[in-house]
């Protein structure tokens, strides 16, 4: 085999080194970091972001994005909790939660594919709609309350249980990541997604059913956001209409850190996983060190920008050293 470092591989190497670097720094600065328990904890914290980001990565590679995932997460969580308080079997509640996510995804798909609304606008709209519906539904169920807690069956938190020392959500995470790596690298569907993101018109003229693929992607992202919603509800043991505010940006940060291009055509699932882990490890490590949330925001922002800058400069597309010198010395 010839040794040729492709652009994607290179970018993953960079983000992977950043992840390792962060781990090393935290290992030395906190005794609690490098323990199996804590690492599992990190995984559990990034579960929802990773699960949603799996679909989101494919969507972004194809050249679209979905801002409604945070609202969907809240809505499906609330509906799941609401139904559970009415004595409906838990399994049905959970499935309904995921299904509701799929419905919003379907709405996004209709708006974007059939009515040709720009993805940003369409999903911005459904983000507000789903968040609003989450509040309305919660108020209805709780007669004016702000969260669905009362009357939940005790086993509602089943998704936080451990199987063999591994939390159930992490099992979900691993399964979904594996499925999506398979879709991305091995299937015709995955290949078409890159083709659409690379050049939609060429893809269409080559016989790719662009509308169908885009449609499916939006529904898939909706379903995954719904799944994240029930995991979230089960974990916090309630349906909270204001949960997952800013969730869409956590997902976007993970995907971008992972090297998926905002303009489509490039990206990978492994990259996204690394991206999400960087965010997770950073948050976890700073928590262990007792750094306040506000500083953590700043740190996250810095890491994002540094990672992207490193990537563009090392690839030789960003600022050159001479430009930098000129900028500094006027």
């Amino acid at each position: 085999m010839k040794l040729s470092l492709r652009k994607g591989t290179f970018q993953r190497l960079i983000t992977f080194s950043i992840l390792i670097l962060l781990c090393i720094v935290f290992t030395f600065s906190s005794n609690a970091f490098l323990t199996p328990r804590n690492l599992i904890n990190v995984l559990r914290q990034v579960t929802m972001v990773v699960i949603t980001a799996c679909g989101f990565t494919l969507l972004l590679i194809s050249g679209s994005l979905d801002l409604s995932v945070g609202g969907v997460l809240a809505l499906s969580g609330c509906i799941t909790a609401g139904l559970a308080t009415q004595g409906i079997p838990l399994l049905i509640c959970f499935f309904t939660g995921v299904f509701v996510g799929g419905l919003i995804g379907l709405l996004n798909a209709l708006l974007v594919v059939v009515f040709r609304v720009t993805p940003v606008i369409a999903t911005l709209g459904t983000m507000y709609i789903s968040r609003g519906l989450a509040f309305i539904y919660t108020a209805k169920v709780t007669h004016g309350g702000l969260g669905i807690i009362k009357g939940l069956p005790t086993n509602f938190s089943v998704l936080t249980k451990y199987v063999w020392h591994i939390p159930v959500p992490v099992i979900f995470l691993v399964m979904i990541v594996l499925i999506f790596i398979f879709i991305q690298t091995k299937t015709i569907f995955g290949k078409y997604i890159y083709a659409i993101g690379g050049n939609e018109e060429t893809a269409r003229l080559s016989g790719v059913n662009v509308s169908k693929i885009r449609f499916v992607l939006f529904v898939v992202v909706g379903l995954l956001a719904g799944l994240s919603g029930i995991i979230m509800a089960s974990r916090i043991g309630s349906g909270q209409p204001n949960s997952g505010i800013g969730f869409e940006f956590d997902v976007i940060v993970a995907v971008i850190l992972g090297g998926t291009s905002l303009s489509g055509g490039e990206g990978s699932m492994i990259g996204t996983l690394i991206g999400a882990l960087i965010v997770g490890v950073l948050g976890n490590g700073l928590n262990l060190l007792g750094v306040q949330t506000f500083y953590q925001y700043v740190a996250s922002g810095v890491v994002l920008i540094v990672a992207v800058l490193l990537d563009t400069t090392l690839k030789g597309q960003g600022i050159s050293r001479e430009t930098l010198r000129r900028l500094i010395h006027g």
Binding site: K2, S4, K186, T187, K191, A195, G198, N199, S206, G207
Partner: protein
Amino acid sequence: MGYVVEFLHVTKTFPGVQALSDVTFGVLRGTVHCLVGENGAGKSTLIKILSGAYKMDSGEIMFEGKPVKIDSPHESQKHKINLIYQEQNLISQLTVRENITLGTESTKLGLIGKNEESRTTLESLNKLSLNVDVNGVVADLSVAEKQMVSIAKALHRDSKLIVMDEATSSLTVNEQYKLFEVIESLKNHGVTVIYISHNLDEVFQIGDSITVLRDGKHIGTFKINDVTKEEVIQMMVGRKLTDTYTRKPERETQCVLSLRNVTKKNQLHAVNFDLCAGEIVGVYGLVGSGRTELARVLFGADGFDDGEIILDGRSIMPKSPRRALSRGIALIPEDRRTHGIIGLLNVRSNISLSSSKAISSFGVVINKKDRQLAHRYVKELGIKTPSIEQQVQFLSGGNQQKVVISKVLSTNPKVLLMDEPTRGIDVGAKSEIFRIMRELSDTGVAIIMFSSELPEVLKMSDRILVMHDGAIVKELDPSTATQDQVLRYAIGENKERDDETKS
């Protein structure tokens, strides 16, 4: 008369490709200096280095006798070097005026002086006798008009050196003629032109000197009168070209595709013709004749209002490219870069893009079949690429076109539509593409070639259909027809219909 530009030992390597090695030659002031070579010879790379789009690995560029360092397009414009690329560098959402004056806006108190700009823009357009709306959006222009606008853009700037990279590839005969006049007058004003073209007739018509590149090496620089066209071709390809083509003897064939009164409002008027298996039909028409529209309708990219398309005896309604492909109608589009390839994807993925069924089972790609398919076509069509994993954007134009052809062939089409199949492709690749077309037709594939290059239509077609104003106005036999004759029908002379009866 000294050199305006001198290239000294210019060397550039891309991953897996030696694009330029030790290229040294000079361009005399006030001359038209032609740069020729096959695809991948390094012409475009050299020009991109001159314009600051690429950095050379080693070597030097002297501009007006002084060594210069050009590390950005902005820098090259400071030296009054302007480029007209093969790919048009226009912003389609802006107007003609805004495009032409981009970066050189005339301002009053920081505001754009629209009237002043409109006046100067119009001047530039008039020089080219280009009749487009100054305030119209570029997206609405035809390919040829866009190309003329990008030429006007370069003229609008104060230039010492203008580089034209395949500037005439989509121009009509008249427009070309206008352009040559402009080049002549530029020359008289002391402006130097570096002219890159695959069309050696043009080169010998307007060039003063000529530089031949091959495989990134400088083969030679000559005064145009010191070499013959045949010598230049030999230097370009490094071998003798055999270009013998014998037209197919008449034989009984069955009709594959028939069009009956196919009509599309304002674009196609009652188009009728039959296409037989193994036949190459050339459709010739000027820009706006309905040539491209016809191709798009046949391929299902656009719908039609009235009439019937019959494939293998069954009436079909190609609603989408996907359906057209599944029925055996394939298209090699005119605009390779935006409709043919996916630059970010590798050669392998581009080739198998239309034939997913053949390389997968239950939606899962079988890597072995995928690679086999790619290797097969890379070998059969002679695609020059370091590996099948190379991104297509890094291949030369001719090799990109071969990738597009591979993609289309892998669907085993019955009817192959080729829209300007040799646009921007050098002589070597051109004759290979003709050979491929011939071989395909021998296996029974029916080919419709839409082309605006008369010599190639006359040479390759078994029949010629001439289009004008959305209708087929004449069928000609290429063994007896002359270029003149075809052109006369195409511009609407010799018309056998009354113009007034049409809407």
